[in-house]
Symmetry: C2
Subunit: 403 residues, 2 copies
């Protein structure tokens, strides 16, 4: 597998663009993104489990019900959620795509991200669409920028891999920095590939993958109303189409996971106000489920996140979060270490503290990527969760987000 | 029912004191508290459900297993948790109480609060105990100060009420500002009363009460390892002893609830870094359980808490937190208003936004006590939860708590 350039345009058959159409006040910020394929694609999606669902999600569900789609349109600056006319607006966005590209509105995936509960007007979208469609090309970066809200960096990645002797490509863009605690799906992630795969197997690959990737990320414990992960597979790589389990399906899943895990790390590291990526690796759990529960609990603890911001090796907060996680754990067997580029520091063995140098601790925890290694010594269950520190800037960003 | 002075010393038969013995570095901070009764008391406790339990909790459970106790000793500055010798130290604290007061060590409730995972030495406790015991008197304030950690105010309250024609008194002290998300018990709360009541009925009253009081408070979503609520009932008021359900038991429960609810509000308002008390009142839920789930979810949302800090009427975050709460809610029926001393503001009706004046919103949300009123319009279930805003100071306090 090889990292390549091009993000969402790396796979054969895909073009993308992003423009500023006027939904966001700041004119330097792109706020409308379009991704199109030359051919109809097998399509798979997973969505937020929040009972409050953005109108675009309801419309997308209808459009991909047959397993196929050919374009993705997404705006930032407004979530089009909790609005009485939300579904009509989302359908209107798809109709505009049809008007300017010829792709049937019913083959368009639509998404929105931004403030909840503010009416979204079609006007800026209608006026921006011709520039957006006319400029379609190798512009994954513009597309990635068009879906950003408080993200500080655009998020894209692509890999090439081999299936059935044919070179395939898979790439993605993503956004998400706050209201992130996915439950069966997450933030906005658009993946494109030229591998040939049936809609059913594509959906299976995606549904399996999110359990260990996006569902293991938390920035602030708030599950968004507009989360969506969508994969489009054009089939243009020419491999023999994946119709069931087997070697090719495994290879495809591995490539998909490479892309999704990369985005998980990028999203956690760019968490609102974050200065540090926290990667919690749990091993030795009674079950995989228990390992995931423990990893998520540690990564979500406000107290632990604040301690990491302060580079304070307050491991008692790790133990505390393990204890209230709700998993079956024998606290007397728990070992904990912190690790970063600067070294590794053992802080707890068998549930009790180990003497350590505060100076070393500061050094290890002052890096911008910290691993929290937890051995439960009670089985073979393993899991990884990604999060970030809790900082002044998280409060600042969210104390006045609307205005 | 009448509010009276005296806190934990208001009830007949109780004396208290608090001193600085040297566990905390700051010499102006009391760090050791003792409450004693003239007579053996019916005793009831509830404890944290965290799998990591402070050593004092394990010792206290043994000491109150027979339903009786006569003293409470508590230190701040060190949680005596995750220490290999923790139980021996906690037993040592009880033995010191016996030595200086004559009350059997097995009748002593012991508690600790502070940093987890740092060895606690008996030395300062042994040297402070004679001053502490010699100074026992009407010193609820000293006792309340001796259990504070990052609390900014000491927390005490007392009421008088009538049982069986006799005047009774009930009072309490409490601490807790961070690591607060009680699960079956909470922070440290010590309640004393002179009502006569059997240990079994006292336990029933307390266990019922915490479900609607302390278990509905959240400061940061972290369930502490050392939470404990303890009630001692001396029986000195002379009422005929409560042995079962009935009018007197109901009156006692009402008085207990008055005290616990008062402390819930004090604890939430003094949440680490908090500038505002948030009181979320949910009505019209399909069940009481659903109402509680929704109220807790809103009060715990980091995004909503940050918006309240910024006096930003971002009601979409309330809807979002209702949506992911996990309760059976019909979002299309949800109404939301904000209320404070400055007025009431409707922001959402039937799941969609209502136009409102941003100026009025700022005025309503700039007060220091905010009610979030949620009508689910789908049944008769009701609940109240208490929380606080998320501020820069929460991050500051917890970024470097140990050092």
């Amino acid at each position: 597998m090889k990292k390549i350039k091009g993000g969402v345009c790396a796979a054969q058959g895909f073009k993308a663009n992003g423009v500023h159409c006027g939904i966001r006040k700041n004119k330097t910020k792109r706020d409308l993104t379009l991704i199109v394929s030359n051919v109809r694609c097998a399509a798979a999606c997973v969505y937020t489990q929040n009972l409050v669902k953005g109108a675009p999600i309801l419309v997308t569900k209808k459009h991909v019900a047959d397993g196929y789609a050919q374009a993705i349109v997404c705006n930032s600056g407004n979530a089009n959620t909790c609005n009485a006319d939300g579904e009509a607006i989302a359908e209107g966005m798809c109709a505009l795509v049809e008007k300017h590209t010829g792709i049937a509105a019913s083959d368009v995936v639509v998404a929105s991200t931004g403030v909840i509960g503010q009416p979204l007007s079609l006007e800026p979208i209608a006026s921006g669409m011709s520039e957006l469609a006319a400029g379609l090309g190798d512009h994954s970066d513009f597309a990635a920028q068009g879906i950003m809200t408080t993200d500080t960096v655009d998020k894209q990645i692509a890999y090439s891999f081999e299936l059935d002797g044919k070179e395939c490509r898979i790439g993605a863009i993503g956004k998400g920095v706050g209201m992130i605690n996915p439950n069966m799906a997450t933030m906005l992630i658009f993946v494109t590939t030229d591998a040939a795969i049936s809609p059913a197997m594509l959906q299976k690959a995606l549904s399996d993958d999110v359990k260990d990737s996006f569902n293991m990320v938390s920035v602030d414990g708030d599950t968004s109303t507009n989360d969506m992960v969508c994969v489009l597979a054009s089939g243009l790589a020419g491999n023999s189409r994946i119709e069931g389990a087997g070697k090719d399906f495994t290879a495809f899943k591995r490539a998909l996971n490479k892309v999704t895990t990369h985005l998980c790390r990028m999203i956690a590291k760019d968490g609102e106000g974050a200065t540090k990526l926290l990667e919690c690796k749990v091993s030795g759990a009674k079950s995989k489920r228990a390992a995931k529960t423990v990893a998520k609990s540690v990564i979500k603890s406000s107290l632990f996140k604040a301690a990491m911001f302060g580079a304070d090796a307050n491991w008692g907060r790790v133990l505390c979060a393990i204890g209230y996680a709700g998993a079956d754990v024998d606290i007397k067997k728990v070992d904990v270490s912190f690790r970063s580029r600067a070294g590794e520091l053992e802080v707890c063995r068998g549930g009790s503290g180990v003497a350590f140098s505060e100076e070393t601790a500061k050094k290890v925890l002052s890096e911008d990527e910290i691993e929290i290694l937890i051995s439960l010594n009670d089985g073979r269950g393993k899991a990884v969760a990604w999060g970030c520190d809790l900082t002044y800037d998280y409060v600042k960003i969210n104390g006045d987000y609307r205005t």
